[in-house]
Symmetry: C2
Subunit: 366 residues, 2 copies
């Protein structure tokens, strides 16, 4: 695949190149959309926390890490049960190396981060198996659109990332409700991608809501309300508000395809300004298929930061090469933006060195 800087053009090389050209040397704003959902607490679904309740702390802890260089609402940093640290470490290094400003946006949280955050009127999400997982979807979208419109006037482009445990399951929920074949294609931060668990949760949720696969083809608002998560309306609204004026890099893995489906239904005319930015670990993942899902929705390019932690001196970081944790907190998009903003001065090697330094400091390693 074609590359520029340390960025892989994973889908639609021509558009990906044009999109990256637009970002070159420009000044982005990174927005992190965070939320919590009880879907993340379904046993075996998410690796974002060791204990189900811990998933409520992961998004605010990630947000604190980006702003403060450390977490306040938890000790240390979020780690998976296998000891793999949060990809917020990657985003934090990338944003810091390129001096990119950060704004956190809450779609609905049980635990509030101890940093400034945009409130767009959302509530924490319920388990999708209730069939009624998200409140105020339209209102949150409307408010996030306003935020996106205003932020677009203050930046050359937006990079929007997410942190929500269980997010690939809710993504599968919304995609399924909208008739997009994503079963077996969404990603995971677990050693074994629990596709069956996810599909079962979605099936139960759709049934509880009185819906079936594809029954909400043109109703993303209801799809999110039934089987989505509260990150989605905040994220989608930000994209719709900003991409009407400036480029928007949707920074994340397969979760981005659910947001893409929402935006594609509500405001398809902005998609000419949209790309997905992720990591090499996502686009090379055998247990998921981000480009395959995008293919079903809209012709947007997919870019991937060519990160490589194989040479790291820390096992916690080397583990990224095993394809367990692969993305999150906009790690890939933030890395792409750091490379583009500095016109390639920030490289993948420089990123790894800085990530190792931060990881060692935060974990008390040498």
């Amino acid at each position: 695949m074609k590359k520029e800087f340390d960025v892989i053009f994973a889908r639609n090389e021509f558009k990906a190149q044009a999109f990256l050209d637009e970002l070159r040397g420009k000044k982005p704003l990174f927005v992190l959309a965070i939320a919590t959902t009880d879907t993340g607490k379904i046993p075996g679904i998410s690796a974002a926390g060791k204990m189900p309740e811990f998933t409520d702390y992961t998004p605010p802890a990630d947000a604190e890490l980006l702003h403060l260089g450390r977490c306040k609402c938890i000790k240390g940093v979020p780690v998976t049960p296998d000891g793999i640290p949060t990809p917020a470490l990657i985003a934090m290094s990338a944003l810091h190396l390129a001096d990119i400003p950060v704004l956190v946006c809450s779609g609905g949280l049980r635990i509030k981060p101890q940093i400034p955050f945009l409130d767009v009127g959302g509530n924490p999400g319920r388990d999708i198996r209730t069939g009624s997982s998200v409140d105020n979807v339209q209102e949150v979208i409307d408010r996030a659109v306003i935020a996106g419109e205003n932020l677009a006037k203050a930046s050359d482009y937006l990079v929007i990332g997410e942190s929500i445990p269980g997010g690939t399951t809710t993504a599968l929920g919304v995609l399924s409700a909208m008739g997009i074949h994503a079963a077996g294609k969404v990603s995971s931060s677990m050693p074994e991608n629990p596709h069956d668990l996810k599909s079962e949760a979605v099936r139960v949720g759709l049934t509880a809501a009185g819906e079936t696969f594809g029954s909400l083809l043109n109703n993303p608002i209801r799809a999110v309300s039934c089987v989505g998560d509260p990150m989605m309306p905040a994220f989608a609204g930000l994209v719709m508000g900003a991409a009407a004026e400036i480029p928007v890099l949707m920074a994340g893995g397969t979760q981005m395809t659910a947001v893409l489906a929402i935006v594609n239904d509500l405001k398809p005319e902005v998609l000419c300004n949209v790309a997905i930015g992720t990591t090499r670990w996502v686009v090379e993942d055998d247990s998921s298929d981000i480009c395959g899902i995008v293919e079903e929705i809209a012709d947007v390019p997919v870019l991937a930061a060519d990160l490589n932690f194989a040479g790291s001196r820390f096992n916690g970081l080397k583990a990224y090469e095993k394809g367990i944790v692969k993305e999150g907190v906009g790690a890939g998009g933030a890395s792409i933006a750091a490379m583009a903003a500095t016109e390639g001065a920030v490289t993948k090697e420089m990123l790894l060195t800085d990530i190792e330094r931060n990881y060692a400091k935060l974990m008390g390693l040498k």
Copy 2:
């Protein structure tokens, strides 16, 4: 006094000119710091609402007006008992004419606005006569500093306005606690400036807190905690975070002097990047003395938008010439920014025409 565009240099002409030169043609971000306090409910203190409880709705309604062009949490727009409409009308027209982005920041609210807003961890304020009026002052400042630092990377300069009923009384409180002689010098939105009522409330509050005039000379955190309001730590933190990097226009009347005193104590080195931007109605007011208070604190310039509503076809707007409502919601600073951003293309005449149009539409007038 010297003028450029329709901007009056009301204090320190040389610095005022240099500051305005820096803004010329640049892209600002307007931040509105809002909060509520029970101090605004002391009978006779504030004109921000007809009934004491209504003061809880004024700041969110002002914020909604800026973003939506109409209020959602109340019908119509906030008006004084005399029927004078909120100065948010002025800010709204100015920001719209110059296409200036807006971000609302809550220092602590009883009623949340139905628009996106930055949460910096504050609570609504108590009556200053309790001597314990604001929670978490240091924490709110710290979070607002983070917001200011990040917004500074995304804009050429910030214009920060406020909306909080009773704000001149709490300003007098903090100024008095810090040993600045402001009694009889703070402004008012009432036909008769109730200086005695304000001084009495401050006296009672300081006594309740075990403090006296000047006893908190070098302790603005405690001054705000005892007799301030929750807009102050949010506003001061934004200034401290942003003015370390870019110019900041503090947009408001005599309330700005309390924020100035706080910043001057905590981070005086940023004041070279700070000016106060207000309206002609404030600098020409006989019942208050903004420049006199500034004189006691620090040598920052004061600029004033030379607005003139004498020729308006609406009595509600003509009333601004009687010196009742004079400022608020960053009306003066937003007007200055609109003129500077458009290099004078936005004039006071154009502003009045647009304000009249919006006023007529919102009030159902012809």
